[in-house]
Amino acid sequence: MNVFDIIGPIMIGPSSSHTAGAVRLGQIATAIFGYAVKEANITLYGSFAKTHKGHGTDKAIIGGILGMKVDDAGIKTAIQAAAQAGLVVTFTTDRAKGYHPNTVKIQLKDKDSNEVTVMGSSIGGGNVRVSRINDLKVSFTCEYHTLIISHYDREGAVAQVANLLASSHINIAQMKLYRYDKGGEAVMVIEVDQKIGTHIMEEIKGYELVKSVATVKAI
């Protein structure tokens, strides 16, 4: 913790959890998707479902998808900006219980047939936790620079990435591995202390066992 965690961040109001955190979730979903977004179908749960209009949670999520930062004055008019950019957006509210109070499911599609569904919650002070990517249950916060690598569950996949990070002088703060089935699709989430350059991304993308790579910058 430092002084800027107390006086800061600079943000668009009114709520760090309902607005700033929502921007962040939009940014993260878009980073994970990796394609140009043409359609966004957003489902809001809990307090997000109840108060999204008054808190501008809907505008904030769209702003995040459009690449806006938490202090971007454009968030207020993000829905109009999305329309101008030709982005089709739908909002649904789901009053189902059992979710964290501030949860959103973001389904993104491009002009082809690519799509991803990311679910996450705003957990306070603008911090977030991603809980699901497609059908895979995950848990990470993007508090650090985060690498999200979709790959095949085979021996050596993790070692190859870890070796590259080590030789690039990137320190791993924490990492988690998730898979659907043994030998099937898997996701590794690696949080690191240093920024991840595009050349590293490109190299990982070229690995035989890797399907896709995304990075999310730390706040």
Binding site: F4, I7, G8, G13, S16, G54, H55, G56
Partner: protein, 290 residues
């Protein structure tokens, strides 16, 4: 590096070094963030500039919030303050107008600085800007005092909480009130001891304050609580500078705030299930917004 677990430790260290609390904190944060003093001050200055911009923006617009519930009260208060007839006097009535301005900008999806949270974002800017004008201080002097305010915020975050969902409004507006008070006492030339007593006096006066926003929005009663918060800052600052001491030391007040927050029912911690949110009018507004 400092631990920020007890405010009294910071007060003692400042006395031992015969320096201001802000000097200690700035020195500490240069090491913690691994940046130069210039870069550190610049970053805080940027926060202060955004705070002042929010005061200006909010003082010159009667824009309504997304819900339509609020907007225009800062202008109303400023106009009244300018008549020179207020019971609060020029300084305080202008500070109240400034706090309303920033809190309204926040509700209208404008740019603010969480201090320590978005819900309590009006108190620090209003108090700082008011004292800067009345004492004709430089921006840098004010910015340095913001480090003293931050250090108290860090202690509260460590020993208790700054989140309304965990501790109620006492954790948000209450912490902002105590933080602004310590900044003001330092700017007015008060001693580290007076800063400790001022912090305790300010925080004690908001203990037990619940977080019960109507329809879950950061509008009612949050915006007016920011305004009243500034009045508490002024009162606590003057009492501390007069040499009035808090019987209960600041760290014990923070512990009490934590205990009260823990005992506070969830229905009064940002869930809008009880309190003002559950009044006849509160529920009607909620239904109308759905």
């Amino acid at each position: 590096m400092l631990k920020f677990d007890e405010f009294q430790k910071i007060i003692i260290l400042a006395k031992e070094n015969n320096c201001r609390i802000s000097e200690l904190i700035i020195e500490d944060q240069i090491h913690a963030l691994e940046i130069s003093e210039e870069a550190l001050i610049d970053r805080m200055t940027n926060n202060y500039m955004v705070m002042k911009d929010a005061i200006m923006t909010g003082s010159n617009t009667s824009e309504k919030s997304t819900s339509g519930l609020i907007g225009g009260d800062a202008v109303r208060m400023k106009t009244y303050a300018d008549l020179g007839k207020s019971i609060c006097g020029e300084n305080l009535s202008n500070a109240i107008a400034s706090a309303l301005a920033v809190a309204e900008v926040n509700a209208c999806m404008g740019r603010i600085v969480a201090a320590p949270t978005a819900g309590a974002c009006g108190i620090m800017p209003a108090a700082l800007w008011s004292v800067q004008q009345s004492l004709k201080l430089s921006d840098e002097a004010v910015v340095r005092a913001m480090f003293t305010a931050s250090s108290l915020g860090m202690v509260i975050a460590t020993a208790a909480t700054l989140a309304g969902a965990q501790g109620g409004c006492q954790a948000e507006c209450g912490s902002a009130t105590a933080m602004a008070t310590v900044a003001l006492i330092e700017l007015m030339g008060g001693s580290p001891n007076q800063i400790g007593h001022g912090a305790a006096i300010a925080l004690k006066s908001v203990l037990g304050l619940v977080c019960d926003p109507v329809a879950g929005l950061v509008e009612v009663p949050c915006i007016k609580r920011n305004a009243i918060g500034v009045a508490q800052v002024f009162a606590a600052t003057d009492m501390a500078l007069a040499g009035i001491e808090s019987v209960i030391p600041i760290d014990e007040v923070i512990s009490a705030m934590k205990a009260i927050g823990d005992e506070m029912p969830t229905s009064l911690k940002e869930t809008s299930e009880s309190g003002l949110a559950d009044t006849k009018t509160g529920r009607r507004i909620e239904r109308d917004l759905m």
